[in-house]
């Protein structure tokens, strides 16, 4: 398995062979089948894929926020500043959560406590990690609310989440996540639950703040459009594995994995503006409860040949800074 850019001090987070399982009543689901990637300082990394492909599990695995009873990361390592997050004690990982790695979630409607004021919830994030007085923490909340461009932050500080719209709540979530100036922000589908006009605003806000604060962002989304607008590098996931990894321009110009190609074809093309039936990828995502033999995409792949059904492909460079897990990347690129 070859990786690029893994050497040097530029790497902030280095994930290797991450393996996470979910335990059901009778079956084990291999939600992540040994994925490896890294995040550079200050960059924006996109993680794309359909729902259920393991994007969110990846994010939750990094911060060890998976439900304790039903999920477990059974292998791999997550290097952050040289130490393996998976080996930290509960107390040590708590010091990292929210302070150095922060996260925002998909549902702004349910991700805030309904019985605490917004200011309180942001201030709490500050107080957990720094020894400041209550009033200083509230002052920081006020500043953060202003930063995420919430109108009338003075009043909103004492509002409850149910008094706010979805977009405003997501701004609050962002304020909360960035309150301690983390080095990495994991944004798990932050705009999916919002309406379209709000989506663009929130995206712009995240990118803006990222640049201002120098935070690296891991952007999890199913929307290639969002990736194109925000990210520098992209990881494409399918069925619990990474299938392609490239700079964003490269990926859009020359997808080297048939799944990525399929994803791009099924994007509505805004330029042409005419009505056409979108091509879809035939077949369904394989169940992760049974072991997958060969390439997990093979049953749906127009390029599949015998070897694809027998042996799982590993990531290999197709060009500099562009890797794909496909036996036939060259043919895919040529097509």
């Amino acid at each position: 398995m070859q990786m690029q850019n893994t050497s040097g001090d530029n790497v902030l987070l280095d994930v290797r062979d991450l393996d996470t399982h979910f335990y059901g009543e009778e079956s084990v689901t291999r939600a992540l089948g040994g994925i490896s990637f890294h995040v550079n300082r200050g960059e924006t990394l996109g993680i794309v894929g359909e729902s259920g492909c393991g994007k969110s599990v990846t994010a939750l695995s990094i911060l060890r926020l998976l439900p304790k009873l039903t999920a477990k990361t059974v292998g791999g390592e997550i290097r952050f500043h040289g130490s393996d997050l998976l080996k930290l004690s509960e107390r040590e990982i708590r010091k990292i959560r929210g302070d150095r790695i922060a996260m925002i979630f998909q549902e702004p409607m349910t991700s805030l406590s309904p019985v605490h004021t917004v200011g309180h919830q942001i201030a709490e994030a500050v107080q957990i990690h720094t020894k400041v007085s209550r009033s200083d923490a509230l002052e920081r909340s006020r500043e953060m609310l202003r930063l995420v461009r919430i109108a009338d932050p003075e009043r909103r500080l004492y509002s409850y989440p149910h008094e706010m719209s979805g977009g405003m709540r997501q701004r609050v979530m962002i304020a909360m996540a960035l309150a301690c100036s983390p080095e990495l922000l994991i944004a798990d589908e932050p705009t999916t639950a919002l309406d379209v006009t709000m989506q663009a605003q929130i995206l712009r806000l995240i990118i803006d703040l990222k640049q201002r604060m120098g935070t690296a962002v891991m952007f999890i989304t199913h929307d290639l459009g969002v990736v194109a607008e925000t990210c520098q590098r992209v990881i494409v996931m399918y069925a619990g594995r990474i299938v392609e990894q490239a700079d964003v321009l490269d990926l859009f110009a020359r997808p080297a994995h048939p799944y990525t190609q399929g994803l791009m074809r099924s994007m509505p093309d805004r330029r042409h503006g005419r009505r056409q039936r979108l091509p879809e990828i035939p077949g369904i995502v394989p169940s992760l409860r049974e072991p997958i033999v060969g390439c997990s995409f093979a049953p749906r792949c127009p390029f599949a040949i015998d070897i694809c059904r027998e042996k799982a492909p590993t990531m290999r460079d197709v060009r500099p800074s562009h890797a794909a897990a496909c036996w036939r990347s060259e043919e895919v690129l040529g097509a």
Partner: protein, 313 residues
């Protein structure tokens, strides 16, 4: 908010009116001549007539009710037939042990029940949780007098660690007062701890699976902060309701506990009144206690606003 308080107050007054009518009718409509029963088997007809006169039973029902209700509204709950004292005086003489026992029991069962419930929910299916299942099965099934005598047998008769019975006023010293109340409080608390813990557990379990708990974890909050600070406030409304409702059961428990441990409280007052068929006392205490129940539940309703800002009045 103000409108809601008004509406809630009016409905509480309505409930109290129903209670008043019911308790009033209880005395008049139940088969048998109340005056004759009160006078006892050996009473002369003159004595019965005297009691009837004293109770005002010769007046028409409506007149009786109006007199009685006006009396209550002006703070006159009537007078004991036997002691000859106003019911309020009797109650105030007996209130201290009852209040002491009730408050101690409430403190013990609310803190105990909530902590127990929280830990059971935190490790659902774990040891504490299974303990709670067993504990609540026992707490619901073993009546307070059985627990009371069991504790007396073990800790007073057996080891002589604690006094057997009786009550020492708080004015005579905090330590003796407390020592005399330990066993009654424990005996009475068991079922409330079980009751409150079960509701706390259910409510917490629901809250713990909410998205905002994950947000709190992502902030780096400690387990303690997550459970007691974050989840508990979200889970508080049902717990509050149960605490309010359990007050009615608490009174029944207090009556029995006072008998078991021979505490000279309101419970003994009522039991004695019932044995003596002292109806004004029964009536007066019933009204007082029901009024207290209605008031406490009114307070609980208003306290919802404090724990859940989403409730709009």
């Amino acid at each position: 908010m103000g409108g809601y308080v008004c509406r809630r107050l009016i409905s509480a007054i309505g409930v109290m009116a129903v209670v008043g009518v019911f308790i009033f009718l209880l005395l008049r409509l139940v088969p048998g001549d109340a005056a004759a029963m009160m006078a006892g088997n050996n009473a002369t007809p003159q004595e019965v007539a005297g009691i009837r006169e004293q109770l005002g039973l010769n007046e028409p029902l409506t007149v009786q009710f109006v007199q009685w209700a006006l009396g209550i509204l002006s703070g006159n709950l009537g007078s004991s037939i036997f002691a000859g004292l106003p019911v309020l005086t009797l109650v105030s003489q007996r209130i201290e042990p009852t209040i002491s026992l009730s408050i101690l029991t409430m403190i013990v069962s609310v803190t105990g029940g909530i902590c127990f419930g929280i830990f059971a929910a935190w490790r659902a299916g774990g040891f504490v949780d299974r303990m709670l299942t067993a504990f609540s099965a026992v707490g619901y099934s073993v009546p307070v007098f059985v627990v009371g005598y069991f504790l007396t047998y073990c800790f007073s008769l057996g080891t002589r660690w604690l006094p057997v019975q009786g009550y020492v006023s708080i004015g005579q010293g905090l330590a003796p007062w407390f020592v005399h109340l330990v066993l009654p409080t424990v005996a009475l608390s068991l079922s409330y701890i079980a009751f409150i813990a079960r509701i706390t557990r259910a409510s917490m379990l629901e809250v713990l699976s909410e998205d905002y708990m994950r947000t709190a974890a992502a902030k780096g909050a400690s387990t303690y902060a997550m459970l007691f600070h974050y989840a508990l406030k979200n889970a508080a409304a049902p717990i509050l309701t149960v605490i309010g409702l359990s007050f009615a059961y608490l009174i029944g428990g207090v009556v029995i506990t006072e008998t078991v441990f021979n505490l000279p409280g309101i419970g003994r007052l009522v039991v004695d009144a019932i044995n003596n068929r002292d109806y004004p006392v029964i009536q007066g205490v019933l009204i007082l206690v029901s009024g207290l129940y209605v008031l406490i539940n009114l307070a609980v309703d208003l306290a919802y606003r404090l724990v859940d800002p989403r409730i709009r009045y």
